[in-house]
């Protein structure tokens, strides 16, 4: 019983510690993702996640149409072996910046409840929106979300 309680508490603590809308991102994590001053779109993915394989090409195309002065799109690969993640990134021809997080230091802070997961961080370093799981037409969804955050896209998706 004690074990169950302890496990539940640990799990609850993890969920409680995870970033939600309105959470300020810790300074080291924010620095790793690109720092303050512009909107950051963080895309968590892994080579073993089938939905990520569908979603990443759309995100990749979108990344090429964003104004880097206003929006930074960064991928976080959570494969246990970074080389496996790198091969996946190469296969899909991902052009945006990808951070490899085999120690799960970044993803552990965000604590998404599923993969893939997209987090929006505003220019002040606060999480403002989350998109969890596989979504159709993710490029358009990201553009809509960015428009809500005040970014005026010059491209409307595929």
């Amino acid at each position: 019983m004690f074990r169950i309680i302890l496990t539940s508490l640990l799990f609850a603590a993890t969920l409680m510690a995870a970033y939600k809308d309105g959470s300020a991102v810790d300074e080291p994590v924010l620095e790793a993702l690109g720092g303050k001053g512009r909107i950051i779109v963080v895309d968590f993915f892994a080579s073993w996640c089938h939905s990520c394989k569908e979603e990443l090409p759309l995100v990749n195309t979108l990344a090429g149409h964003l104004n880097p002065a206003q929006v930074r799109l960064v991928g976080v690969n959570v494969d246990n072996k970074p080389e496996k993640g790198a091969e996946f990134v190469r296969e899909l021809g991902v052009k945006f910046d990808v951070i490899y997080d085999p120690q799960k230091k970044i993803v552990g802070k965000f604590g998404p409840i599923g993969m893939p997961a997209i987090y929006y961080i505003n220019a002040e370093g606060v999480v403002v929106k989350r998109r969890i799981g596989a979504l159709n037409n993710i490029d358009r969804i990201i553009l809509q979300d960015l428009a809500e955050l005040g970014y005026e896209p010059k491209w409307s998706g595929q």
């Binding site: 004690f2 074990r3 169950i4 799990f11 968590f44 996640c49 089938h50 939905s51 959570v78 599923g114």
Partner: protein
């Protein structure tokens, strides 16, 4: 005294429990973790027999393993 042994045994079993986070499901997502993945033909055959006998089908899991995707 009689209750201590079962309690200890249960605690021993529970010590194997661990919370797997969505981003830690790499091994669980491997094809080998799917039921019948090592012998798909045999799995399909057994499934056919099973569902015929039950007169119903479904509830045998979904494609791909445990990535936590929607």
């Amino acid at each position: 005294m009689r209750i201590i042994a079962p309690v200890c045994f249960t605690l021993l079993l529970l010590s194997g429990c661990a919370v797997v986070q969505p981003w830690e499901r790499e091994i669980l997502a491997e094809a080998a973790m799917m039921p019948g993945s090592t012998a798909p033909l045999e799995h399909g055959f057994m499934g056919h027999i099973y569902f015929s006998k039950e007169g119903a089908r479904g509830g045998e899991g979904v494609a791909a393993g445990g990535c936590g995707c929607n």
